[in-house]
Symmetry: C2
Subunit: 266 residues, 2 copies
DNA sequence: AGAAGGCCGTGATTAGAGTCACTGCAAAGA
DNA sequence: TCTTTGCAGTGACTCTAATCACGGCCTTCT
């Protein structure tokens, strides 16, 4: 089996070639991190929902030939801001935090990436340095494609190039959204409200209530909305007191979405 | 001559078909706004420097066939945030302000676009709504391509799709940069310093001094760095007093770049 | 020439939120 | 089992920058 556990600095990789030729038929592998490896993109149960994965079959096969899959534990780093772009990572499972930091240690989180997204895309297509740092916050499987391979692939596959453009468009859209919560708010409370509403838009609503999963520390939330850990704690307590929220471990229930929206509208 | 001055709400357009067939040979046209129209992209003196304009000749011709050129005066609006994307605007000359606003009137400027950029690209490729508003701040010529024409064109021209991806990557990069100045600063002074340094990176440096052109009102600068008009005024005065800057009308000289950089480093 | 509307400069006031310092708690590790 | 470490909660203090409220100076109309 073409698999190999590599330890490389603080980067852990469980590598398996994905060209299909040497796969254990149908059998799934487990990584040391309790993650089930997806060996074959065509067989991935989520393929259809995912913009980039749902390419025509020949393209997926061509891509598989230049792809190497790896599993990363919590805390691993896919790439670091300022590093010349090596290539892209297609997220198969898990979650990755994208952030940027200033010289004095302040950090701004731009996005928590979900499966199906392609990381490192902007820097790879423009041939510049990664503008963000990608840290794994949940055990993750990602397919890596080197920059040169990827660009050659795009030249041959017009359809894929378009998908790349679409993915970039969506990434941009998300960045603008983030920008709005940070830049257009008058108070930290407004920022937090904006953030929660934005976050909750991925979950189903029911009678003005939304049940969301928020596996982020207060510190991380603060870094997402450009605020401090303490004010996030205080504001969440405040929202709870005002019956806007209910917190149970890492799940959070928005009890009064309308009230949050009115905070945003100022 | 296939030209036509249209008044359409508060949008002014001086339309001229660019398919090459009906051009006045070599002669340039003037718009009512004192703008010299570029009739032919292949003959554009700036073509080489511009990512998207510098496509292979057949592609440029194919693009010209589906392009309509228009001139816009200061104050015109190319598109509005929230509007379903109609298509893209390739900026030939002039400058356009890209901004987003909140319900209570607060505005955040994301970017001042320069010639060669393609506006409305993210929304057009993903088929969503424009996420920003594009206002002309200097008489502008722009080539419009409708969304469907543009997507068809991209399907046929792999090279162009790649350029689109690159352009999107750069746009994203700029957005991140903006994000850093707004999100990672500890004070308004730091934001302003970051902004000035970022802005000055397009101009040549000489012995720690940079001469830059900043045709923005204090209000607009405030909207770029997420601050208020008054603090921008005060901070600029402060920087002048400290010999960091010198202002002469709309040109601004950074006298002490190192000092600005040390403000940023905190 | 006069009026009007933008834009810039400045003072006074004040609320909001960052920072520091400490406690308590719970999970992880030795 | 005991320690260690990381996260959450809270009080007190400080200070930045938003806001309001002017006055003056342009440019641009009428």
């Amino acid at each position: 089996m073409p698999s190999d556990l590599i330890r490389n600095g603080n980067r852990f990789q469980f590598v398996t070639k994905l060209d299909g030729s040497a796969l254990p038929d149908g059998s799934n592998m487990r990584t040391p991190y309790g993650l089930e490896i997806i060996e074959n993109c065509l067989a991935c149960p989520h393929r259809e929902e995912r913009l980039f994965c749902n390419l025509p079959e020949p393209s997926v096969k061509a891509l598989a030939a230049i792809t190497s899959s790896a599993a990363y534990p919590k805390g691993a780093t896919l790439f670091v801001e300022g590093q010349p772009a090596r290539g892209v990572f297609v997220l198969c499972s898990g979650r990755v935090k994208l952030s940027t930091s200033s010289a004095d240690g302040k950090t701004l989180i731009l996005r928590i990436s979900e499966p199906g997204e392609v990381l490192g895309l902007p820097a790879s297509v423009t041939g510049t340095c990664y503008e963000l740092t990608a840290d794994v916050i949940e055990p993750t499987q990602a397919n890596f494609v080197s920059r040169t391979d990827f660009l050659n692939f795009l030249k041959e596959n017009g359809e894929a190039a378009l998908r790349v453009a679409q993915q970039l468009g969506e990434t941009y859209h998300a960045a603008i959204s983030e920008m709005r919560t940070i830049g257009l708010s008058h108070s930290a409370g407004e920022k937090l409200a904006r953030f929660l509403l934005e976050w909750s838009s991925n979950y189903p609503e029911e009678k003005g209530q939304v049940r969301i999963k928020l596996t982020l520390t207060h510190e991380e939330i603060a870094q997402m909305i450009g605020s401090s850990r303490e004010t996030v704690t205080r504001l969440l307590a405040d929202f709870r007191k005002k019956q806007l929220l209910q917190v149970m471990g890492s799940t959070l229930i928005i009890k009064n979405k309308a009230a949050l929206e009115s905070i945003v509208k100022g």
